[in-house]
């Protein structure tokens, strides 16, 4: 069925999908998230409009990882699309996300391993989408967690929000406004690494692609 939709769309032509996508999303999302996430920590959130349409955001988690499952659990009561990357990333992209994004632009926010990000990052080029926010989460042997931004540095705002102990996945969506802020700044988060894991570390990565 999905394929039929795709084929029909091809014949119909898909001009217009790209029109001012980023502008639309920036306006739409900052407002949309105001109703779903605690935004008081960030200046950007104060500019949030009243719009409550959450359909632009898709949260991707990987059920192979505890913190990613925590992220999913935290979303349980939210009216936000939630997708698991663990089973078959290709089926998720080609069977669901790609047709949906062809119909309506969206923003992807995820927590998984570097393979998840790398693949989605490459696939999202079809819609002119790029990684606008990226945070590595390193698990130390003592159980603590370090959150590193794209400069390889910790960030006090992030540490305050997420804490540096296991369970940060429950609070991860609180980063969405920060990620939205970053989306207006640079392309430095895009293609920071390949798909391989960080040397000698157990790690995950959270990201926003828009």
């Amino acid at each position: 069925m999905i394929c039929c939709i795709l084929i029909k769309k091809r014949h119909a032509g898909d001009k217009g999908v790209m029109i001012k996508r980023r502008t639309t999303l920036k306006i739409g999302l900052s407002g949309a998230l105001a109703s779903a996430f605690p935004l008081q920590s960030f200046a950007a959130s104060k500019q949030a409009a009243a719009r409550t349409d959450l359909t632009d955001l898709k949260v991707l988690y990987n059920s192979n990882y505890a913190e990613s499952r925590n992220l999913a659990a935290s979303m349980h009561q939210q009216q936000i699309q939630l997708e698991d990357m663990a089973e078959d990333l290709a089926a998720l992209w080609y069977g669901k996300l790609k047709p949906e994004l062809a119909q309506r632009p969206g923003i992807l926010f995820g927590l998984g391993d570097r393979v998840d990000l790398f693949c989605i990052e490459e696939l999202a080029r079809d819609f002119g989408m790029k990684t606008v926010f990226r945070l590595e989460h390193l698990f130390n042997a003592d159980g603590s967690v370090i959150h590193l931004n794209i400069k390889g540095q910790t960030d006090k705002d992030v540490d305050r929000l997420l804490t540096t102990v296991p369970g940060f996945g429950y609070h991860l969506t609180e980063l969405v406004p920060l990620a939205l802020q970053n989306s207006q700044q640079s392309i430095d988060a895009h293609k920071r690494t390949g798909p391989f894991p960080m040397q000698g570390k157990s790690s995950l990565v959270s990201w926003m692609i828009s």
């Binding site: 394929c3 391993d113 570097r114 490459e122 080029r125 790029k130 391989f196 000698g200």
Partner: protein, 538 residues
């Protein structure tokens, strides 16, 4: 932002305006952030001056728009670089061969024009992915199987035109070899169809590939002579069933006899892709410790046989799928066992259950080797990620080097030995050894593969580049070359195919100068530089 060579900003702006006029404002990408999407994630020059960077990208919706783009590019002498999905990582991805080129992103030309399961072909546009084709076939209950590469996120057309490969029967896993009919926009914007497609009104375009007179199809693979806008793909009728079988032989010196028999089976179209392995040598993830064996250089045959006996496992194995009706599969398997027993003492056999095809939808997620059954997937990234070799100093990507060797034990061993020595000479631990096994991507040649790491670190990339170049030099000394490579090494790789003072490349360049006089299409791709840029050869 990079500019096209020898073009001012104002001239480029004027060209971009014409591109926008041709394809619409929304489909010309020239901002830094948009162009960055076309960087090669595995570039071995990442962040360095030599990294190949596009100046812009243009996404046409149809053939007419491709023709307009080509004509504009000719007027401004702008190099263009067509991509289909642009995800052929380790071979350049979406990045052009020449910095400043305008990428022609054919993603919007994504129509599956026809899939015929009576004459067993598909006709597709460049932006159709393997997933699209696979889903279309299943949605429409068509009785054909596709052959997919790994990872499967590319397009049948792009993969074929890059001489990509898959995992089923020999005639199908050579993807360019299984194309049938091309439609091409020439460098001057003219539309050409090959084979029977050159006859107006022909219904045999995907049935007869020659037409009459010289066949030019091969000129459009790994090349820069035109932009392919449609391609026919031969499809395998969906087999009724398949069975996976494995044959093991006990001694190191049994390898040649094993190869001889597998060659017979392959060339008789009796088996699917053979997968060679060495139980005694260990697999990729579990190599047997060979420090002692290798301490005095390449071991003798006696040493190798003693090593195999000490491991208590067979020296070599080969696995393959048998496809067809159940009666044929079982009969073929019986005959195969007889033939091996007659030739190799101590041969042993393993077989798995016979499975009916197509695989039910609900069973696909649990399948271990989806690509072997023509099911596109991205699992290769997780498999490579689990490779312990990558845990010590995980790279950001890899530049693959595939050494093409004769289909003999000596061919495989020579390639493995030369590559091992090349690694050691450059200060790297060898990636190949006496138990390295060939890959049979092409049914009539062996491939010995090494994956040379690429990084986001310039110093490490410099070392990787030196290693890659050294490997190419060393295998050429024993009469071997690679069959595809990243843009950074294309000039060097092509230079090894230099019989009679490089007469092949000279011929290709004469063609280039004749049919692309302004040198606009993918300058430098696989070593073919137009006359006005020949000094760019690296």
């Amino acid at each position: 932002m990079a500019l096209p060579p020898n073009l001012s900003q104002s001239e480029f702006d004027a060209a971009l305006a014409e591109f926008r006029n041709a394809v619409g404002n929304d489909w010309v990408f020239s901002s830094d952030e948009d162009v960055a999407l076309y960087r090669d994630s595995y570039s071995i020059y990442w962040g360095e001056e030599e990294e190949r960077i596009a100046s812009a990208a243009v996404a046409p919706a149809n053939v007419e728009e491709v023709q307009q783009i080509v004509r504009i590019a000719n007027r401004y002498s702008i190099p263009v670089y067509p991509i289909s999905t642009g995800r052929n990582l380790t071979y350049g991805g979406a990045a052009p061969t020449l910095t400043g080129s305008v990428v022609i992103d054919l993603k919007r030309m994504n129509r599956i024009i026809e899939v015929n399961d009576k004459r067993n072909y598909a006709l597709v546009e460049p932006g159709v992915s393997y997933f699209d084709l696979f889903n279309y076939i299943r949605e429409n209950n068509l009785n054909v199987m596709i052959d997919v590469p790994d990872p499967g996120w590319g397009s049948p057309m792009g993969n074929s035109l890059d001489h990509g490969v898959g995992y089923t029967f020999g005639p199908y896993r050579d993807h360019f070899g299984s194309h049938i009919g091309l439609e091409i926009v020439s460098a001057e914007g003219e539309l050409i169809r090959t084979g029977a497609g050159a006859i107006p009104g022909s219904d045999a375009w995907q049935d007869f590939h020659y037409g009459v007179g010289p066949s030019i199809d091969g000129l459009f693979a790994q090349s820069n002579f035109g932009i392919v806008t449609k391609m026919g793909v031969k499809l395998m009728p969906m087999p009724e069933a398949f069975k996976n079988v494995t044959i093991t032989v006990p001694r190191y010196q049994d390898f040649q006899a094993l190869i001889d028999e597998v060659n017979y089976l392959e060339d008789s179209y009796l088996v699917g892709m053979p997968f060679y392995n060495s139980p005694a040598g260990g697999g990729l993830f579990d190599p047997a410790p060979m420090g002692e064996l290798m301490q005095n250089g390449w071991p003798s045959l006696d040493q190798l046989e003693a090593f195999v006996r000490a491991q208590g496992r067979p020296a070599w194995s080969v696995s393959f799928h048998l496809y067809g009706p159940q009666e044929i599969v079982q009969g073929t398997w019986t005959a195969i066992q007889r033939r091996f027993r007659d030739k190799i003492t101590g041969v042993a056999f393993e077989e798995e259950e016979l499975h009916n095809l197509p695989i039910p939808e609900e069973d696909i997620p649990a399948l271990p080797d989806k690509a072997f059954l023509g099911i596109p997937n991205l699992e290769i990234f997780h498999i490579v990620n689990r490779n312990p070799i990558n845990r010590n100093d995980p790279p950001d990507g890899h530049a693959d080097m595939f050494t093409m060797a004769p289909r003999t034990a000596e061919g495989a061993h020579t390639a493995a030995r030369v590559l091992a020595e090349a690694y050691q000479e450059m200060g790297f631990p060898p990636a190949t050894g006496p138990f390295s096994t060939p890959i049979t991507f092409y049914s009539r040649a062996f491939v010995i593969a090494v994956l040379i790491p690429t990084w986001r670190d310039a110093a490490k990339n410099e070392a990787s580049r030196a290693l890659y170049a050294h490997c190419l030099d060393k295998i050429a000394e024993v009469g071997m070359g690679t069959y595809r490579t990243a843009p950074a090494f294309q000039d060097l790789a092509v230079s090894k195919y230099n019989f009679n003072d490089g007469s092949l490349l000279k011929f290709q360049e004469k063609l280039k100068d004749s049919i692309d006089p302004n040198g606009i299409i993918s300058p430098g791709r696989y070593g073919i530089w137009p006359a006005n840029m020949r000094n760019n050869r690296g």
